[in-house]
Amino acid sequence: MVTLRDETFPIRSSDDIVKVRQITREWALMQAFSLVDQTKIVTAASELARNTLEHGRGGEVRVQALQAGARRGVRLTFVDQGPGIPDLDKALRDGFTTGNGMGLGLSGSRRLVNDFDIHSEVDKGTTVMIARWK
């Protein structure tokens, strides 16, 4: 697997969420994603960036453009040093929310991407990795 591009961006304010969406769309376009694939990864990025900001008290996202053989992909890794998630199974269930959202962000973004990986430790923080391949 070859990394074509690798950059990290901060998530500190709601403006940064807009920026993460724009960057993700730009990179997906660069990887020649179809409109549907673009929209899926951008929407997942939007959900997870908002989680990083609202539940993780801010953090950063690492964006990678990848190539594995003929397949091209975009991988996003969201990292925060927030309170962490005590019960991951519960958090990944549809409709579960600790805020006042719909409780579909985490579970929904999992369905929007090909690779999904989450690590969380209470009081240490949370890392969510997603990737979409065309």
Partner: protein, 287 residues
């Protein structure tokens, strides 16, 4: 303080020399934007600053002092005009920093004692640095004001509610639906429903690039609020990629009537309000 007065004195007496040097220096510098500013304007600005500067020097070197107020006001005005003219922050700051050279030349010719020379030079440097930073800060402040004003304009501009027909309103949404805007959108829509007594409101999201759970939630809340006011909502502008994404996210929009295009939504709205639009039977003009 003694040095200060001496500096003030030499600036006052040699004002013309300094001015000539300074303007020449500014004109030669690459940071001067001849395309943005006339030479005569620069000369006038430099002259005015120098005379205010000479006066203020008598009052000490604390630029926060009331005696420096004319200089501060002048800097504020200059920063404002330079922002309007399209200068960058460093170009604006160079106006002050470029004075150093000519001022130092004057100090060098008037002060002979080396020790005193160093002290005077240092005092002048510190003073000009402060003024330079001040104008830079003012420049930045002006830029921020411009951005802030544009943001507010954008908030108001981007959420018009239009009447399409008797009892039918349309709300074409464009851009990001963050919380602040959603609030304004909702208020505008509800207000217009009251004013017009509309039965149906069409919310068109063709111009919304990303529909995530937060946007969906805002939409559903707007629909629910409109329903409480007695109006039904139709969401239009659902493109194929948005439809797929919403399904994968697991957002349930089945409670709301949705349509692919605004035209489709309008047709439904007409049917529901009992109105219809017919093509005229009158023959088209002959070609």
């Amino acid at each position: 303080m003694v040095n200060q007065n001496k500096l003030a004195e030499s600036v006052r007496t040699q004002q013309e020399v300094i001015l000539k040097d300074w303007v020449a220096f500014q004109l030669a510098a690459t940071s001067l934007r001849r395309d943005l500013m006339k030479e005569s304007e620069l000369r006038d600005q430099s002259r005015e600053f120098l005379s205010l500067f000479a006066q203020a020097l008598h009052g000490g070197s604390d630029i926060g002092d009331p005696s420096w107020k004319p200089v501060r006001d002048f800097l504020a005005q200059t920063a404002r005009s330079r922002v309007a003219q399209g200068f960058t922050p460093s170009e604006t700051a160079m106006f002050i920093f470029s004075l150093k050279q000519s001022l130092f030349d004057v100090i060098r010719t008037t002060v002979k004692d080396p020790k005193e020379l160093v002290t005077d030079m240092w005092a002048a440097t510190v003073l000009l640095d402060k003024l330079g930073l001040q104008i830079m800060e003012l420049h930045q402040q002006n830029r921020e004001e411009v951005i802030h004003r544009q943001q507010e304009e954008l908030l108001e501009l981007s959420t018009p509610v239009v009447q399409l027909f008797d009892n039918i309103l349309a709300l074409p949404l464009i851009g990001t639906l963050d919380s602040a805007r959603t609030q304004i959108v909702m208020e505008n829509l509800l207000q217009r429903i009251v004013e017009t007594g509309a039965m149906i409101a069409i919310i068109d999201i063709t111009g919304v690039p990303t529909v995530d759970t937060l946007v969906a939630q805002h939409l559903l809340k707007t629909v629910a609020a409109a329903r409480l006011m007695g109006a039904d909502c139709i969401i239009s502008g659902i493109r194929p990629q948005i439809a797929q994404t919403i399904v994968h996210l697991g957002v349930d929009l089945s409670e709301v009537t949705t349509k692919a295009t605004l035209a489709d939504a309008f047709t439904i709205a007409l049917q529901r309000t009992g109105a219809s639009i017919m093509k005229s039977a009158v023959a088209r003009p002959k070609e």
